[in-house]
């Protein structure tokens, strides 16, 4: 369902061109659970941004659900992000003035979903993530783990096919981190493709497929089955 063909991403820094991604070719099937690991500056977040259509490749082609999305207009990319992709960030990125339910509601609001349906869907997803009793709490009234679960609820309320998580446990203690990973894995179990960037090898190893990157290149791509073999 996700296919990258010889993707490159260059940045201009002063007079120098930095090759953040080099000739990345990759296929991720629907419902897969993939972790991307690597040292800082290896290009894993850049790859995640490209997969999430937040950034554009300098070269190569990106196919999402069989459609070439590389050259989509800004508006078409925005629409695709809204309907097919969910993001979970390390810093949660919750809007502080909105309560949990309102934060979760945001992608539906941007998608033009009617208020009644929005309320129903937000209620359901908060229930699934065991946050129903926190619906009217502002982010500063929630623990780190709860905030990240609100962010996961927001990422999945539109029922996307792909969930992209960038260091989702980076700001959490071990217990909260595991709770969040459990929640993400539960969603993956419902056939949502989960792609997670992480520094944490222990968490990365939980994914059935692990991709390692160094200097903008994929240096290893193995499934747990291969690794155990």
């Amino acid at each position: 369902m996700i296919r990258l063909e010889q993707i490159g991403r260059d940045f201009q820094v002063g007079d120098q061109t930095v090759h953040a991604l080099n000739d990345i070719s990759l296929q991720i099937n629907a419902g897969e659970y993939v972790s991307i690991m690597g040292p800082s500056g290896s290009g894993k977040s850049t790859l995640l941004n490209l997969l999430g259509l937040l950034d554009r490749a300098s070269s190569g082609h990106y196919f999402l659900g069989g459609r070439d999305v590389t050259a989509l207009s800004d508006d078409e990319q925005a629409h695709t992000r809204n309907t097919q992709i969910g993001f979970v960030f390390q810093a949660y990125h919750l809007v502080p003035r909105l309560n949990a339910a309102e934060n979760v509601e945001l992608p539906l609001l941007l998608g033009g979903v009617a208020a009644e349906e929005r309320r129903a869907r937000v209620g359901r997803v908060l229930e699934v993530l065991q946050l129903a009793d926190r619906a009217h709490h502002k982010p500063d009234q929630l623990s780190g783990g709860q905030r990240q679960r609100v962010a996961i609820a927001r990422a999945t309320v539109t029922e996307p096919s792909v969930l992209l998580a960038d260091e989702p446990t980076g700001n959490l203690d071990q217990h909260s981190g595991l709770t969040v990973i459990d929640a993400l894995e539960a969603l993956n179990a419902r056939d949502i493709t989960l792609i997670m960037v992480t520094h944490d090898a222990a968490i990365g190893r939980r994914a059935r497929r692990q991709i390692k990157m160094v200097d903008g290149r994929i240096t290893a791509d193995q499934s747990s089955h291969d690794a155990s073999a």
Binding site: D74, D75, R81, H93, P107, L110
Partner: protein, 405 residues
């Protein structure tokens, strides 16, 4: 294409304004000051205009003043070179002007100055020769006694009405009504004292002695009139009355149009135009503060965009397109401008009320055009000056925006 519901946009904007109370309050105050300034200053201008109009109305808005000579032919021309003067206005001319349905009343005027004396005191004062009708035409009031009797214009009755200042200086604390007053070489019985009105179109009523027009003509040995005051029956009768006066006097003066008829209405219209221009000018000056408020809004919105960069990045990650971000930020500005305008309107109206309370004579009401225009300008300014920050927000790169904390 995804469409935001307007109610959702408004609610989101409302939440955003609530989320930053200090910033919101600052911009509200700026906008409110602008609108309030326009409302208060135009209400002052409008108050002055209404006050002047009312003052003119009290003098008689339906008044026509007939002056001998044509204003257009004044100055040096062949007739004046040969020593000719404009044809005089006579009492017969004056009498002829009452024979029209459009004319309510008429008062001939003769003016001169003479020594007045009583009980050993004397001084020189303006002597006004006129008729019984002058009191009503000029909307004057009597303090004591009565005005000139309604006798025939040719009758030089030896009676006079004196101004308050003349009364005080000649009669001091003694009773004036019923006493004799010597004017020039004639004696007149004081029959009334004028009320407290001050200067009225060039005549200081306080310092005047009013006598029957025929008596004044005898005093000054002249048969001409200084002018004739004619009151039309109504505002709509001014034009036919003016036509009647012009036609009648032309006929009486052997077909020559040698008088000038000034209407109070014309003078009032001129004042009206001047004060209207003044109101617009002060309104315009006040509107500058709306521009200043707009610049403040732009600055604060730019700061807001900078502070909310991560939020904008998030909205983009969640699928907001450029137009939606633009709509969200412009809605905030629109909501803010509207709230500021309403607040300014309330403050401005309270200011006008305070002016009316402090200066009861000044009917300081902001004109409707100023109120609606100030609101319109406030909203337009707010939205216009928010375009740049909103466009900046809409153009942010989502990856960079999300990396800002």
């Amino acid at each position: 294409m995804m469409r935001l519901h307007s109610g959702d946009v408004t609610l989101f904007a409302w939440h955003a304004l609530q989320g930053y109370p200090a910033r919101t309050l600052l911009m509200l105050i700026a906008m409110a000051i602008g609108v309030a300034a326009v409302v208060v200053l135009t209400s002052l201008g409008e108050g002055a205009r209404r006050y002047v109009s009312a003052e003119f109305a009290s003098l008689g808005t339906n008044l026509l003043i007939v002056i001998p000579g044509r204003s257009e032919t004044a100055g040096i021309n062949p007739s004046t070179m040969m020593g000719e003067t404009p044809r005089e206005l006579t009492l017969d001319d004056a009498r002829s002007l009452t024979r029209s349905f459009s004319v309510r009343r008429m008062a001939p005027i003769t003016v001169g100055s003479a020594n007045v004396m009583a009980q050993g005191r004397q001084r020189e004062v303006v002597i006004l020769g006129s008729s019984h009708e002058l009191l009503a035409i000029r909307h004057w009031r009597m303090a004591q006694g009565q005005f000139l009797p309604g006798t025939d214009l040719d009758l030089a009755t030896p009676v006079c009405v004196i101004g308050a200042k003349v009364r005080n200086e000649i009669f001091a604390a003694r009773r004036a009504v019923g006493e004799w007053l010597r004017i020039g070489d004639r004696r007149f019985r004081v029959i009334g004292v004028m009320g407290s009105q001050g200067r009225s179109i060039g005549v200081d009523v306080h310092d005047t002695v009013i006598v029957p027009v025929a008596s004044a003509q005898q005093l000054f040995n002249q048969s001409s009139l200084f002018r004739i005051l004619v009151e039309a029956k109504s505002r709509s009768a001014i034009r036919p009355a003016k036509q009647f006066v012009t036609d009648t006097l032309r006929e009486r003066h052997q077909g020559e149009e040698d008088v000038t008829v000034i209407t109070q209405d014309g003078v009032l219209a001129t004042f009206d135009r001047i004060l209207q221009a003044l109101t617009i000018a002060v309104g315009g000056i006040a509107a500058i503060s709306l521009g200043v408020a707009g610049i403040l809004i732009m600055n604060v919105m730019l700061v807001a965009v900078s502070q909310r960069t991560a939020e904008i990045g998030l909205l983009k990650a969640l699928g907001a397109n450029r137009r939606q971000i633009l709509a969200l930020f412009l809605s905030e500005a629109l909501l803010l401008s509207m709230l500021g305008a309403v607040l300014g309107l309330v403050v401005g109206q309270l200011g006008s009320l305070a002016i009316r309370y402090a200066f009861p004579l000044l009917p300081a009401y902001a004109p409707a055009w100023a109120v609606s225009l100030s609101i319109l300008v406030a909203v337009a300014t707010g939205v216009l000056f928010s375009l740049l920050p909103a466009r900046r927000a809409a153009g942010l790169d989502p990856v960079l925006a999300l990396s800002r904390r």
